[in-house]
Subunit: 463 residues, 2 copies
Amino acid sequence: MKDSLKHFLEPESIAIVGASRTSDNPGYLILRNLKDFGFSGRIYPINPEGGEILGIKTYRSIKELAGGVDLVVSMVPANKTLQVLAECAARGIKAVLLVQAGFSEAHLEGKKLENEVAQRAFSMGIRVIGPNAAGFVNTSNNLVLHSYPINFLKRGEVAFIAQTSQFCCHVMEFMFSSLHYGVSKSVDLGNKCDIDDADILEYLEDDPDTRVIAIHMKTIKDSRRFIDACRKVSKKKPIIVFKTGRTEDGIKTAISHTGAMRMDDVMLTNALKQARIIRAMDMDEFLDLAKVLRSPTIPKGNRVGVITFSGGIGSMMADACGQYGLKLASFSNRTIERIKPTLSSSARVVNPIDCWAAASPLDISEFYRVAVDALMSDDNIDMIIVSFVLNENFWYPDFHHIFKDQKFPFEKPMVGWGIGGDKAVRKGTAILEDMGVQVFASPERAVRAIHALSMFHNQTENL
Amino acid sequence: MKDSLKHFLEPESIAIVGASRTSDNPGYLILRNLKDFGFSGRIYPINPEGGEILGIKTYRSIKELAGGVDLVVSMVPANKTLQVLAECAARGIKAVLLVQAGFSEAHLEGKKLENEVAQRAFSMGIRVIGPNAAGFVNTSNNLVLHSYPINFLKRGEVAFIAQTSQFCCHVMEFMFSSLHYGVSKSVDLGNKCDIDDADILEYLEDDPDTRVIAIHMKTIKDSRRFIDACRKVSKKKPIIVFKTGRTEDGIKTAISHTGAMRMDDVMLTNALKQARIIRAMDMDEFLDLAKVLRSPTIPKGNRVGVITFSGGIGSMMADACGQYGLKLASFSNRTIERIKPTLSSSARVVNPIDCWAAASPLDISEFYRVAVDALMSDDNIDMIIVSFVLNENFWYPDFHHIFKDQKFPFEKPMVGWGIGGDKAVRKGTAILEDMGVQVFASPERAVRAIHALSMFHNQTENL
């Protein structure tokens, strides 16, 4: 199977059946993405008119192609799919991406057609992604085979698998720009008539560029096989699953869009848990957890050191820690001794540290620096949450000073959060992320993220 | 009590004891805020040196003042507070804001001093906000009496009460700029040695500019009185309480910063519920619910119409609706008939509506317009969630076209959500908010918000 997926994600040549000259046509966009992002393999647009599209020689049919092709993308209407498959088989092509909709997600005839496509492909030894799949991305080889316009990419450690074209494409942009992380691979599996999440998991198990696997799914094709694959791969890499169709209405909606069968949701939750899969219950959790699990270091336990600028925020963080079963660490004597000399008279060295109350106003960044460094080398602490006021007319953290003693990757996980006006928060978030501090959008989301990190660690330890 | 709070929130004259010439001193900032935001009453800076500060004649002491003063702000160190109170009493002053820290939140002597301050103030007929209170804002009369620099204000329907200076000030900026709503009043109550949340509630009950009351608290001074006030005021206005100190660690942290007594959290939850108070469990929920409850219309029931651009998003929305006990509405025949002619061939009119699958690509904004209008006039639907792709190189909603048939306030509540790159999302959010569609940051948060709206309505109906 791994080899089959190589045809899709690591092809040396790709033919696009249904390539188009019309600029808002998916058959044009997919070609433009391939070119714009610098795919280095051979590209064969196929269009009955021949000629050139985007400066690339265009063939009239698959038959016309001179050599072999690793991957064929079919952009033609659903009812021409069987014909495309036959032509692929005749040329010994082993991998086909079916972009078009009009199959099981649309109506009963579509479902019949999809079954026939799956059977014929199987009998001809062709593996299929789709139908109704927008495409995929591999940032390791600059392969952007996507029928939606992709505005920008960010390379990263997360493999992002989705089952809905729009979600896949627009959530990626949100992830890259608002959440500050990128993908190794991104695959829309569409209706999963052949290749499904289990296949992708097997491929990703040894992918050196993937450290975290994040799967959005509406339906599971073969749940036993999926859970088996999860069990195996989760020993090496964290897997987060965001499966929609949890409630009655959700199930109805999920099924109506993919034509798939329903599955008992409670059963699924239990199976995922046993396979050490983290199940996200909403979109924020899904994207936050995929983000935090990229951490290059893992916590040795569940003891948290919290650095804040306000007693109120400290109290929120402490509540959230308690809710998730994380412990507020007791500082070591060495930490207390290091921090004490920088304190204002009435302050105490307690966890959470309130830098604002503790430091003299002129030295808050210096106080943060001492606190971060002391907590980073305190053996009583497994992970750190650091939070900031972000307000340029009041006080703005001197991040370079605060983190000047820290080298990325940090010795232990450290996540951040900041509050203030929109502009100030965006600026601070970008600086922190550049320094390797993962930023989350609220105190409680920062705690939830760091909790997931410690959970995955503890589960893996108890294998 | 209402009259007492008028001295604070609607003063005609304010004296600032401890006014300063040093630009980063709170005794300067508080004066600058008063001036910058255009407070129209009389301002009397008090500083032993006299002269002028910010062009305002400055007095050497309270004794020097010629006429009466509605409100005195004390910025002097904790140990001079009793003296300030005595001077106030001598001049018949009835209201004092104590900004300085160094009381019960700091140490045992501070607690003793705070008790003495409270007793002396009571015996002299002086009402006190604080100590350790950063100040307050009343956007109805441009009163910004705040010892933190306030960069910008947004007038709105939410009264925002907090118990932590930093939280109060920086969360406001976040609220104004990222969440797109404003405040009627904002009060930091600090250590609550006298005036507490119950007093504020009584004042806000009839405040014509306040439609929603959002209270952040670490400690409750008199829980019976607070609950009684909640019970009374929640008949008129929704109240959201975000009480930290829920867990063991959270309680310890909350108490260490205010010196207050702990209270059984489960007992509180029940009491709040009985008083029809919505208890927020995290910061996002607190701020989202305060936002949504501003809605000028209230839902007649719990039936939701969902407009999306993707089956996957529809499924998430449906899940969240199921989780919160909201119903996906069945469209009326009239709605189905209105939408049908604009459908692409294979699409069905179901809730959630997938505009992308349903409309022909060129007419998506027109399809949205028809769908919004049909759902708005469908008696089977109590509230609407509308979601968008936000991607300028792909498709960007023509919001003015989509909402051209709708007049604000809408006939029923409508909230929104959009996904895409950071810039596109911020742009779309601003346009939608301008049109009166409240935007939330994820599909599930949009559902949670609209659920809170229907909950408050149902509770109130069953009084």
